[in-house]
């Protein structure tokens, strides 16, 4: 290796190290702030405390908001995996024209600005006379979660050996039984991973939700946005830290299910 090359290798590694620190910064800052005693976001905080976590119990509406968010995320994720999984089987196994186009269409909400989807749905639901906040949120969030389900399940199905289903048929399973007993266990990691990323996408969504929430029914990101605008104090950092903890647990599950490197490939 020449001297110039060694310098370039060193610079590359230095930049990469700084980038790792840069990427970690917002998460570390959030967690440190949430355990500080000061309400002024001084870092490092003058002393440590859990007062912002204790204050969470007195934030009005936090419990019901969290419940709405979890309900919407869980239900939209589950429905997306069911209809997205079925669609993926059709796209991989079917021999009909336009399969690529349908695949692109089903994942296209990922490429469009969330706000535009939100506005389009706001006008459509109003036209259809749908006024219920909870139902609107659920229908809208399925547009957010479905692409994640289709993307992950489709790419796992491409790797799946369908002769295994045929083998199960030969061994006496009915077509339905063959699918349930062979395909579903083989796809379990894909269901877990797509489910987790769809669930997180729904839990974090603000661009679509912002048009459907009202004073009584809102989702967690909308409530956090309101808090950040009205009374920015470390209470939001405490909520954020709990969310970071949740993501960490989910990622450990994903890592067990398919491994870190395949999570990277999914993106």
């Amino acid at each position: 290796m020449t001297a110039t090359e060694r310098i370039w290798t060193f610079v590359t590694c230095l930049v990469a190290t700084l980038v790792v620190v840069f990427l970690a910064t917002p998460l570390v800052v959030t967690i440190l702030t949430s355990f500080g005693s000061s309400s002024l976001f001084t870092l490092p905080p003058p002393s440590w405390s859990v007062r912002w976590y204790q204050r969470l119990t007195s934030v009005r509406g936090l419990g019901s908001t969290l419940l709405v968010s979890v309900e919407i995320a869980a239900l939209s994720t589950f429905s997306s995996i069911v209809i997205g999984g079925l669609a993926s089987i059709a796209l991989v196994r079917g021999r009909f024209p336009g399969r690529t186009a349908i695949g692109t269409f089903l994942t296209s909400p990922l490429m469009l600005p969330g706000l535009v989807i939100g506005i389009a749905l706001l006008q459509a639901f109003r036209f259809a006379g749908l006024r219920d906040v909870w139902t609107s949120l659920l229908l809208a969030h399925m547009i957010v979660t479905l692409p994640y389900a289709v993307r992950t399940i489709y790419s796992s199905l491409l790797l799946f050996d369908f002769t295994l289903v045929e083998a199960a048929r030969t061994l006496g399973c009915s077509p339905m039984q063959a699918y349930i007993r062979v395909l579903i266990p083989a796809l379990a990691p894909a269901f877990i991973t797509s489910g987790i990323f769809a669930f997180l996408a729904s839990m974090d969504n603000y661009a679509v939700s912002i048009f459907f929430t009202d004073a009584w029914t809102k989702t967690l990101p909308i409530m956090m946005l309101n808090l950040a605008e009205e009374q920015p104090d470390p209470t939001i950092a405490a909520i954020s830290s709990l969310l970071i903890g949740l993501v960490l647990i989910f990622l450990i599950i994903c890592d067990r299910a398919i491994g870190l490197r395949r999570i990277v490939d999914q993106h």
């Binding site: 590359t12 980038v19 535009v116 289709v150 956090m224 990622l251």
Partner: protein, 277 residues
């Protein structure tokens, strides 16, 4: 297997397809269509009105400028990171992957709020610049364009690193050795070997970051405020505060066409490269 089976399998796509057509495609089409309909039929008046206002040109310019700066920052620091990631093994690689995947999975609001804290007058960036003597007195980075680009680049960086990494890891390292053995200088190797091979990753990384940065809403509203309007913030304001749905539909449609243009431009660039190679 009989010939009927494939057709029956196709039916499995119906629930998702029907749902997406009714709840997604038709509403988006109607949004676009309505923005071209005035009280007296088909018209482009809303667009002419919108584009004849200098303020709105400023809004479009702001949107594209911030997105371009964010993409540039992500590319400059993301490429070396992706390269180092493709060299790394074992524990170091695991650390780097976690450092990329964990922030990527945490919500945008959490990170944008953290950047509000970081960019304060007494925040860590200001303290760092003071300690190293770059700044003589603490300045506010929050509510400035620099602060906005820094926060946005941080939040979108994984979307630049991952596509570049996915291409770089496929490049055979012996190619570099071969070129070096044949006497190609490092700079020549970078421009004639590494860069063309990594180009598809760079194109898709830039395209993803640029479209995300074009349509970001929470990041500018928390990091720069109402003074600096972009297409998404103006769209949200038109609907949520000003109750001016005509303006909102116009800006939303412009934003939509902008995003579609980026996707199509990327597809064209990738196809053109495939034809060449």
């Amino acid at each position: 297997m009989s010939d009927r089976t494939p057709d029956r399998v196709a039916l499995l796509a119906l629930p998702a397809l029907v749902y997406m057509v009714i709840v997604f495609a038709i509403p988006v089409m109607v949004l676009i269509g309505r923005s071209f309909f005035g009280p007296s039929g088909l018209s482009v008046t809303p667009y002419i009105d919108f584009l004849s206002d200098g303020f709105n040109w400023r809004v479009i310019f702001n949107t594209l400028r911030t997105a371009a700066l964010t993409t540039l920052v992500c590319l400059v620091i993301g490429y070396p990171t992706a390269l180092a990631l493709s060299w790394s093994k074992g524990f170091v690689q695991a650390i780097m992957l976690v450092a990329i995947i964990l922030p990527l999975s945490v919500g945008v609001i959490v990170k944008a709020f953290a950047w509000q804290i970081v960019l304060r007058r007494d925040g860590i960036v200001a303290s760092l610049l003071m300690a190293t003597g770059v700044w003589d007195e603490p300045k506010l980075l929050l509510f400035t364009e620099t602060g906005l680009v820094l926060g946005a680049a941080n939040i979108f960086l994984p979307f630049m690193i991952l596509p570049i990494y996915s291409v770089l890891k496929l490049i055979d390292p012996s190619l570099q050795h071969a070129a070096a053995t044949l006497g190609a200088p490092p700079v020549y190797r970078f421009f004639r070997l590494s860069l063309p091979l990594a180009a598809s990753g760079i194109i898709s990384g830039c395209s993803i970051v640029f479209s995300l940065a074009t349509s970001m809403y929470v990041i500018p509203s928390l990091l720069i405020g109402d003074r600096y309007q972009t297409l998404p913030t103006l769209t949200a304001r038109a609907f949520l505060l000003m109750r001016n749905e005509r303006l909102g539909s116009t800006t939303a449609t412009i934003l939509l066409f902008l995003t579609i243009a980026i996707v199509m431009l990327t597809a064209w660039l990738v196809r053109r490269r495939e034809v060449q190679t």
